[in-house]
């Protein structure tokens, strides 16, 4: 199979490589386009824990929107805690400021007993709307996120998948 690849003319070889590169880059740029449209660095996230049950289960896929800055009590938001890189999805239960002052929020998981003060960074008692929040949940699809949970819990699966995809695209001329 690889001998077939090496016997290609340079232009054909470049075309095969291009086809593969286009598949990857299109996926990446669609993602970035969605980021730009929603103004969120990570517009689609997967729920990893059961802290929001019964609203969201583990494996649910959430769609975020980060353009409405005046977040209200009751909205479900995804936030990043400084120093930790796992985003958390919880509900807003209290808000301070707003309008002229910067908006500050307190969140809590529906299935948790206490609010999130414990989860925040050391010395942090609330979230800054403009800095910590990466989006409010505007839609979800149940279960489909399980694939990514599998992929993130077994990182080698990612490598294998990417490898298989690459080899397929380079070798096929369908």
């Amino acid at each position: 199979m690889f001998s077939a690849l090496s016997s290609l003319q340079p232009r054909q070889f470049l075309t095969q490589i291009l086809n593969f590169a286009l598949v990857l880059s299109t996926a990446f740029m669609l993602w970035k386009g969605l980021s730009v449209a929603t103004d969120s660095p990570s517009p689609i996230v997967v729920v990893l824990s059961g802290s929001m049950e019964p609203a969201f289960q583990r494996g649910d896929l959430l769609f975020l929107w980060n353009r409405g800055m005046n977040t209200q009590i009751g909205e479900v938001v995804v936030y990043n805690v400084k120093g930790k890189d796992i985003p958390i999805v919880h509900r807003v239960v209290r808000r301070y400021g707003g309008g002229e002052q910067p908006l500050k929020l307190l969140t809590k998981g529906d299935n948790n007993l206490a609010d999130d003060t414990e989860l925040y960074a050391r010395g942090q008692d609330y979230l800054e709307r403009s800095q910590d929040i990466i989006g409010s949940v505007v839609g979800y699809v149940p279960f489909v996120g399980y694939v990514t949970i599998l992929l993130s819990e077994h990182p080698w699966l990612k490598t294998v998948m990417l490898g298989i995809m690459g080899v397929m695209v380079v070798l096929q001329r369908e």
Binding site: S3, A4, S7, R11, Q12, L14, T15, L18, A21, L22, L24, S25, T26, F28, M29, K32, G33, S35, V36, D39, P41, R173, E174
Partner: protein, 235 residues
């Protein structure tokens, strides 16, 4: 010419192998191939990919907040280039497998472009040939033939019948490659085509058995050579 064995039931294998053989044949007749269609496609595609790569690197190094506005422009540029690439492939290239020109005493100066196509699940190779002479007169013709004409049952591409098909069906090729036109009166219609190809294959097998030099029996020489080598070894 040694082309690899292909799966005879795979339509894309049949088409790709034939598509590759066509420019080889024409350039051997001193047609000058122009690569500008492919080159522009590659340029469009690779510029898009490079933009995506830069965006990826910037995002990884600097993070979202600092690359937000740059990313907006990059996404815009990427999809414009991608749209242009799609337009180029489907609107301009349209399956062209050869674009070039020829200057020959028998035909004068001509530009030529050949596009190939295959209908779904139909093992028939269709070509659209158009060529324009120096006076600006354009000739356009369409021809088609079953792949069985130049693929044997084992999936080997047989150069001779393919070249004969082109030389006899396309006047401008026939006028240059006169030795590839089979005897007068033959060489028209698809029905004849298959039997003709079979005749040629049989002819070539005869060639293999009798090491007699005939024109263009390109499958024959290797086996004759090995036969000679064997004889030499016997002695």
């Amino acid at each position: 010419m040694s082309s690899p064995k292909i799966a005879v039931y795979s339509l894309s294998d049949l088409k790709n192998t034939t598509d590759d053989a066509l420019p080889n044949y024409l350039t051997s007749l001193k047609f000058r191939q122009s690569h500008y269609l492919t080159d522009i496609r590659l340029a469009l595609g690779y510029s898009a990919v490079i933009i995506a790569a830069i965006t990826f690197y910037a995002d990884w190094k600097l993070g979202w907040e600092r690359t937000k506005y740059g990313t907006f422009w990059a996404v815009l540029a990427y999809f414009i280039l991608n749209g242009a690439l799609t337009f180029w492939t489907w609107g301009v290239e349209r399956g062209k497998v050869f674009v070039g020109e020829i200057e020959h005493q028998s035909v004068g100066r001509n530009t030529i472009s050949i596009a190939s196509s295959v209908a779904k699940h139909t093992p028939i190779y269709n070509l659209t040939v158009s060529y324009t002479n120096s006076k600006g007169v354009e000739k356009k013709l369409e021809l088609s033939s079953p792949f069985t004409r130049w693929f044997d049952v084992d999936g080997f591409f047989i150069t001779k019948p393919f070249q004969q098909w082109l030389a006899s069906e396309v006047p401008i090729i026939g006028q240059i490659d006169t030795k590839n036109i089979p005897g007068a009166g033959s060489g028209s219609g698809k029905v004849n085509g298959t039997s003709e190809a079979m005749a040629v294959v049989v002819e070539q097998k005869v060639d293999v058995q009798t090491p007699r030099k005939t024109t263009g029996s390109e499958a024959a020489p290797p086996s004759t050579r090995s036969r000679k080598a064997k004889k030499a070894a016997d002695r």
